[in-house]
C-alpha cells in the first residue's frame, strides 16, 4: 500500500473518532458536505479522470437517485435506508442505458451529450407533477431512524465513510488491470483497441462503478437537505461541481478529487458566510480561475511534479518583465 493512502486511512479514522468528542456542531455540518462532495467528485473521477471521458451530466444520476428516494418515501413511506442502495442500483441501469450510446462520442461531443441529461431529467420531473410533485419539489425527506439531535454527527460519519469508500475504490482501480486499461483508453483509444482492450466494455464498466457511487451520494444528499426540487437535483451545479473539484484537485489521481472536494467546498462555505449575496459567487469564481491558471494539472499533479516553486517563480519573472521560453 502506498504511504499516502495509508496516511489517508489514518486521517479518516481520526476524523471519525472526533465524533466522540464534544466538538462544536458547525464543525460537523461544515465537513459533512465537504466529505460528500469529495466522494462524489471521486466517483466522477473514475469516468472523467481515469477514462478521460469528461462527463458534464453526472448530476442526472445524482438527482435521479435523490428523487427516487424522496418519491418512494413520499408515496409509500419506504425507508431511505432501503431505497438509497436501490437508488445506486437504479443508477447502474441508467448508466448502462446512457453509457452505450454516449460513450461512442469523444471529447466535446461526449461532454455535450451528457450535459443534456440533467436537463432532460429535469424536464421529465416537471412534466409529470402527479408522480413527481412537479416544480415545487419534494419536502420532508428524512431518515427517521436517525435521531434528530444527532443528525450532524451521524451525517458527518456517513459522508466520511462514503468518501473513504470512494477513495478506496479509486485507489484500487488505479492499481488494477482495469485502471490501466482506462488510462490507455484516455491516452489513445485506437491504440488501446490495438492492444486488445475491449474499449466499449471497459468504458461502460467505468460508468457503472461511477454511476453506482454517484447514486449513493445523491440518495443521501436528498435526505440531508430534507428537500429537493428539479433545480437543486437537476440544475447545473450538481453536474459541474464534481468536475471542478476533480480537475482542480488533480484528476487521474485518487487523491486529487478528495483534496479538491474538501478544499473547494470549505472555501465555498467560508466565502458564502463571509460575503453574503451575489458577491460570494463572484469571489468564488475568481478564485477558481486563479487556481486553474496556477495548477493546470490540479494541485496533486503539481505537488507530484515538484513544480510548485517553479511555477511561482515563473509568475514572479513574468511580472518583472523577464521572458521565458515556455
Amino acid at each position: 500500500m502506498e504511504k499516502s493512502f495509508k496516511f489517508f486511512l489514518i486521517v479518516t479514522l481520526l476524523l471519525g473518532l472526533i465524533t466522540i468528542l464534544p466538538a462544536p456542531t458547525f464543525f460537523f455540518v461544515a465537513l459533512a458536505t465537504a466529505f460528500l462532495y469529495a466522494g462524489y467528485s471521486e466517483s466522477w473521477n473514475i469516468v472523467g479522470g481515469y477514462a478521460g471521458y469528461t462527463s458534464l451530466g453526472h448530476g442526472a444520476l445524482f438527482g435521479l437517485s435523490a428523487y427516487f428516494v424522496a418519491l418512494l418515501l413520499h408515496h409509500f413511506g419506504t425507508s431511505p435506508l432501503l431505497t438509497i442502495p436501490l437508488g445506486g442500483l437504479l443508477c447502474i441501469i441508467i448508466a448502462i442505458i446512457i453509457g452505450y450510446p454516449t460513450m461512442r462520442l469523444r471529447g466535446y461531443y461526449f461532454a455535450l451529450a451528457t450535459l443534456s441529461l440533467p436537463i432532460i431529467f429535469g424536464a421529465v420531473v416537471v412534466s409529470f407533477p402527479d408522480i413527481t410533485l412537479g416544480g415545487r419539489g419534494v419536502s420532508n425527506i428524512y431518515i427517521t431512524e436517525i435521531p434528530f439531535e444527532l443528525r450532524p454527527q451521524i451525517y458527518y460519519m456517513i459522508f466520511l465513510l462514503y468518501m473513504a469508500v470512494c477513495a478506496s475504490v479509486a485507489y484500487m482501480v488505479e492499481r488494477s488491470k482495469f485502471g490501466m486499461g482506462l488510462v490507455a483508453i484516455r491516452d489513445d483509444e485506437v491504440a488501446a483497441e490495438a492492444c486488445g482492450i475491449n474499449t466499449t466494455k471497459l468504458k461502460v464498466r467505468a460508468f457503472i462503478i461511477s454511476g453506482f457511487l454517484t447514486g449513493i451520494a445523491g440518495g443521501f444528499y436528498g435526505t440531508y437537505l430534507t428537500y429537493i426540487s428539479p433545480s437543486t437535483a437537476f440544475g447545473i451545479l450538481p453536474s459541474i461541481i464534481p468536475v471542478l473539484m476533480a480537475i482542480l484537485g488533480g484528476r487521474n489521481t485518487w487523491l486529487g478529487p478528495i483534496i479538491g472536494g474538501i478544499v473547494l467546498d470549505l472555501l465555498r462555505q467560508y466565502i458564502s458566510y463571509t460575503f453574503p449575496g451575489v458577491l460570494n459567487t463572484l469571489i468564488f469564481g475568481g478564485i477558481l480561475i486563479i487556481f486553474t491558471i496556477l495548477f493546470p494539472e490540479g494541485a496533486v499533479g503539481m505537488i507530484k511534479k515538484g513544480n510548485l516553486v517553479g511555477i511561482l517563480n515563473k509568475y514572479k519573472y513574468r511580472r518583472i518583465g523577464h521572458t521565458q521560453s515556455r
Partner: protein
C-alpha cells in the same frame, strides 16, 4: 495463413480497395508497396477490423475474421503497428508494454507480472535504458521501437507493420531491419509490412505485393516486382 478474397472498400465515390485478393504465407515477410493513396493502410485497417469491407472476405488460418472488432482480431493473433506512432503518453515505456501484456494474448492479470513480462520485449527492441522513462520524453526512433515492443507483448502470430522506417536516418533503418529480421527468425512471427524505403523492402521481404489505386498490379519476389513493367510505369511513368 492470412488471406483476402474480392475485397472492396469504398469511401463515398472513391474505391480505396478494388476487388483485391492477397495471400500471406506463414513464416514469411511479405511487403506491401505502392504510391501514396494506393490503399495500403486501408488494407491494414480492413484486416485489423478498424474498417469493414463493403465486399469480400478475410480469413485467418481458415477462419473468417471480417466483421470482428479490432480487440477480437488481436486476440486471434493479428497485431498491427501504426504509421503515426500512438504511444500512451501518460505512461512509462514499461507501462505501455504492460498494457499489451495485460490485454493481449498473454492476458496477464497482475500489474507486477505484466511489468516483469514487459522487460523481455523492451530488451528485445533495445529500449532497456528507457524502461522507466515517460513515453512523452522519447524521440521518434524510440517511439517506433516502443510501438514494436508493445505489439510483440501481445504475443501475435502475424504482425502488420505500417511504415516502421519512415523518418529514420540510414543507420537507424539498418537497426530496424535487423530487429524485424529477428522478429521472424527468433520469434517465428509472420510479417506483413508496408514500406516506402525500397532498400528495406529489397533487403527484408520474401514476397512483395504492389498496390495502385486499390488494385494489385504486381506480385512476386522483390527483384521480380522491381523489374515488372506495370510497377515501373506506376512509379516512374511510361517513358521508362
Amino acid at each position: 495463413m492470412l488471406e483476402g478474397k474480392n475485397l472492396v472498400k469504398r469511401f463515398g465515390g472513391l474505391t480505396a480497395i478494388d476487388n483485391l485478393d492477397f495471400y500471406i504465407d506463414e513464416g514469411k515477410i511479405t511487403g506491401l508497396i505502392g504510391p501514396n493513396g494506393s490503399g495500403k493502410t486501408t488494407l491494414f485497417n480492413l484486416i485489423t477490423g478498424y474498417y469493414k469491407p463493403d465486399q469480400g472476405i478475410i480469413k485467418f488460418k481458415g477462419r473468417p475474421i471480417t466483421g470482428k472488432k479490432p480487440h477480437q482480431i488481436l486476440k486471434m493473433g493479428i497485431v498491427r503497428t501504426f504509421q503515426i506512432v500512438r504511444p500512451f503518453l501518460s505512461m512509462t515505456v514499461a507501462e505501455n508494454v504492460a498494457v499489451a501484456a495485460l490485454y493481449g494474448r498473454a492476458n496477464l492479470n497482475s500489474m507486477k507480472e505484466a511489468i516483469q513480462y514487459s522487460k523481455k520485449w523492451i530488451e528485445f527492441c533495445g529500449l532497456e535504458s528507457k524502461t522507466n522513462t515517460p513515453a512523452r520524453e522519447l524521440t521518434l526512433v524510440e517511439l517506433k521501437k516502443l510501438e514494436i515492443a508493445r505489439a510483440l507483448a501481445t504475443e501475435p502470430e502475424v504482425m502488420l507493420i505500417d511504415e516502421a522506417f519512415a523518418g529514420l536516418n540510414p543507420s537507424e533503418v539498418d537497426q530496424a531491419i535487423e530487429t524485424i529480421k529477428r522478429i521472424r527468425s527468433e520469434l517465428g512471427i509472420t510479417i506483413f509490412i508496408v514500406e516506402h524505403v525500397m532498400r528495406a523492402v529489397m533487403n527484408l521481404c520474401d514476397h512483395v505485393i504492389v498496390l495502385h489505386n486499390g488494385k494489385k498490379i504486381a506480385e512476386g519476389t522483390p527483384v521480380q516486382v522491381a523489374t515488372s513493367p506495370p510497377v515501373i510505369e506506376t512509379y516512374l511513368g511510361k517513358r521508362y
